[in-house]
């Protein structure tokens, strides 16, 4: 396990050749997606300080764009499977529309290396974007979501429980509540063992109302934990607008009340998200304690599955059959789709001269092919063996069958 020694080997997640400074492009970037507002302790003397994306290599920027596309095309491909392939059994809580948040945050983290040095991510019931951004093996994730024996978790967990500690993806969580406190617990361990690792909890606006919200933030502050709470405010929990359960316009205000550093960012702009995350990671690694990032964002599909969606088209519209008493106005969905994270990230890269439109389109085709072959591989994988359900209860052995008396 970890000890004090290796705690001091700080590895830089964005090492590699620095490209020229991109300060000249700042104005353009600001136009494409400015920070919505900032609260709490963040006070930048000028627009440059804290614009950490200025130092990113072309390679890294292109990787971020690629990650956004991977998430998007995983979603669209899976939605099409659900809508057109009667043999497909997987399901998802679609993340499309929110891609820039997972991508921007995870780009600021340490995602490979020994387990006792990488940063950890705790995800939610809507995990596919976080998982891809953290670097899980996509074909194995796709196989897991279709309950295959060779899936990332052997078919035991499926969508709401996908996990891959080898890249620091502690995993999805079907419950709303336990995860964020537990994530703070990992941060506690880092501090106790003198490691510079960081623990990140992704969470939705629905988590604000949970009692564990208080526990996580209060203790993170009291113990100054290297903990980053990324609240993706997509306005709805299930079918209810967040104003049903939260008296704040910016949920970050709730975190600021604890004396925690907060940022409210445009969750559609991966660069803004990256900047906020990088600042938070720097703070955490240097012993400066927790940060709360609220990303204003939106999901293009309904809460669960693909109702209202059409094969080959992005997004779901109209009445959600699960909603009954309330649902999202179609115009709201369309208004948000105008500020699409894929478009925004592509425009920034083109504007910054990192790629041109042709290369951008090429990359998108590469990603589509990659995802298509991931599904092809995954959907040809073997199904699980019934008796294996009795394994993995404890580290060793199996439990007895009881269903036959």
């Amino acid at each position: 396990m970890t000890n004090e020694d290796n705690a001091h080997t700080l590895r830089c997640d964005d090492e590699g050749p620095r490209s020229e400074s991109r300060r000249g492009f700042l104005k353009l970037a600001a136009l494409t997606g400015a920070v919505v507002s900032t609260t709490g302790s963040r006070a930048l003397a000028n627009g440059d300080i804290g614009f950490f994306a200025k130092d990113l290599s072309d390679e890294k920027l292109i990787n971020m764009y690629r990650t956004i596309l991977r998430i998007r095309w995983h979603e669209r491909t899976q939605a099409d499977q659900m809508l057109t392939n009667p043999d497909y059994r997987g399901y998802n809580h679609f993340y499309a529309g929110q891609e820039a948040v997972a991508t921007g945050v995870c780009a600021a983290l340490r995602n490979d290396g020994p387990f006792d040095q990488i940063d950890l991510v705790y995800s939610t019931h809507r995990p596919s974007g976080h998982a891809i951004a953290k670097g899980v093996d996509i074909p194995k994730m796709v196989a897991e979501m279709d309950f295959r024996a060779t899936g990332m978790n052997g078919g035991y967990g499926a969508e709401m429980h996908i996990s891959d500690p080898s890249v620091g993806f502690i995993g999805a969580d079907g419950m709303v509540g336990p995860g964020h406190v537990t994530a703070a617990g990992s941060a506690f361990a880092f501090r106790a063992r003198g490691s510079d690792q960081v623990s990140v909890a992704f969470a939705g606006d629905g988590t604000y109302a949970t009692p564990q919200f208080h526990s996580a933030l209060n203790n993170a502050k009291l113990l100054d934990l290297p903990f980053i709470y990324v609240l993706e405010n997509n306005l709805y929990h299930q079918f209810a607008h967040y104003s049903y359960s939260c008296p704040h316009k910016n949920i970050a205000d709730a975190a600021a009340a604890y004396g925690i550093a907060t940022e409210v960012v445009d969750g559609q702009d991966v660069i803004q998200v990256y900047n906020a995350a990088k600042e938070a990671v720097n703070r955490a690694r240097s012993g400066g304690g927790p940060t709360f990032i609220e990303a204003k964002t939106y999901r293009y599909y309904n809460h669960w599955g693909a109702p209202g969606a059409k094969a080959g088209e992005l997004g779901a519209f109209g009445y959600d059959p699960l909603a009954i008493t309330s649902f999202r106005p179609e115009r709201e969905v369309r208004a948000w789709m105008q500020r699409d994270p894929v478009d925004i990230s592509r425009k920034i890269l083109v504007d910054w001269g990192v790629i041109d439109d042709a290369r951008a389109a090429e990359i998108e085709e590469e990603v589509k092919a990659e995802i298509a072959s991931a599904f092809e591989w995954a959907l040809s994988q073997p199904l699980c063996t019934p008796e294996d359900g009795l394994r993995h209860v404890f580290a060793e052995g199996t439990v007895p069958a009881r269903q036959f008396g």
Partner: protein
């Protein structure tokens, strides 16, 4: 009398009681208090009784349960529908606070509280956290709270009336897997008692005892076994606390064979208590339990459906025992 869905039967009882008592409240999280059934008016508690009495809340099941308790202590009958994902969130509140309230106050507390706690539909694929049925045991161990678990729309309505009229706090377990059942359910209010098991079929060779989501498989197995010439007695516990020992003991005194069926884990499932009570009171009987193994439910439908007790497994166990 009309064919009614499960949810309609339940909300019909709730609607009636809320009409009778203008102080009564209802709190929900994900499941809007809305139900329809062919040929009957839609029930929508939220629009009928307004948002002061019927509240849609955030993700905080502890608060939901506590609010119902607080309302009842203030003299207002109150109920909540807690979705299965949050089934154990309010556990401590019910276990250590509400359930002991009458006893610790020497009987002076007012406690017309009903917590409807959903159990999953055990949908294959949903896995571990979204497929557990285990809460019956937890709530059943608590003294001071009546715990019931209907298995038919008729009982669902009658137990709801009885729960809402009881001065005792009631945990009303709602097996979501049975939501698709329909049945003949009277329009008028009626009560199903909070302390009686239901004899679903009489027989003399073997007693099978189950409850809630376990019943459809048991009834199917009983049909098969009856077809094979076995005389099977089937008891639906219906009430977990206080368990109707008499019905159980009388049955096994006659059949001398007891098979229990739990959709939840083997260790300390309700079947353990059934076997133990009968074993203490009937000599020379033989016993067997069918249950979900002591493992969380996995996502893979292959693993999960194999692990879940079904009619075939139940019938096999019955044949071994008889």
């Amino acid at each position: 009398m009309a064919q009614k869905s499960w949810m309609y039967s339940v909300l019909e009882a709730v609607q009636y009681e809320m009409q009778q008592d203008p102080a009564m409240t209802w709190i929900f999280e994900l499941t809007p208090p809305v139900a329809s059934t062919p040929g009957k008016p839609v029930i929508n508690l939220e629009t009928e009784f307004g948002r002061k009495r019927v509240v849609n809340t955030g993700i905080d099941e502890y608060w939901m349960a506590a609010t119902v308790l607080g309302a009842s202590l203030a003299g207002s009958k109150s109920a909540t529908y807690i979705p299965y994902q949050g089934a154990l969130m309010p556990f401590e509140l019910i276990q250590n606070y509400a359930s002991k309230m009458r006893h610790k106050t020497g009987g002076v507390a007012s406690l017309p509280a009903v917590w409807i706690i959903e159990m999953t539909g055990q949908t294959p694929g949903f896995a571990q956290q979204h497929s557990c049925y285990e809460e019956d045991s937890y709530y059943m161990h608590i003294p001071g709270v009546r715990t019931v678990i209907p298995s038919t729309p008729y009982d669902a309505k009658g137990l709801m009336h009885a729960a809402l009229r009881s001065p005792d706090p009631v945990v009303y377990l709602y097996p979501a897997g049975l939501r698709t059942l329909t049945g003949e359910v009277p329009d008028e209010p009626y009560e199903v008692p909070l302390d009686k098991a239901a004899m679903r079929q009489e027989g003399s060779d073997l007693t099978i005892v189950s409850s809630g989501g376990g019943m459809p498989g048991v009834l199917e197995a009983a049909e098969t076994l009856t077809g094979e010439g076995m005389s099977v007695e089937v008891i639906d516990l219906r009430v977990l606390k206080e368990m109707d020992t008499e019905t159980l003991v009388n049955s096994v005194a006659k059949t001398k064979r007891l098979l229990t069926v739990d959709q939840s884990y083997y260790t300390l499932g309700p079947g353990a208590e059934v076997v133990a009570r009968v074993a203490e009171n009937v000599e020379g009987a033989r016993f067997k339990r069918v249950a979900f193994p002591d493992a969380p439910p996995p996502a893979s439908p292959e693993m999960f459906t194999w692990m879940r007790p079904n009619a075939e497994g139940i019938a096999g166990a019955a044949r071994d025992l008889a």
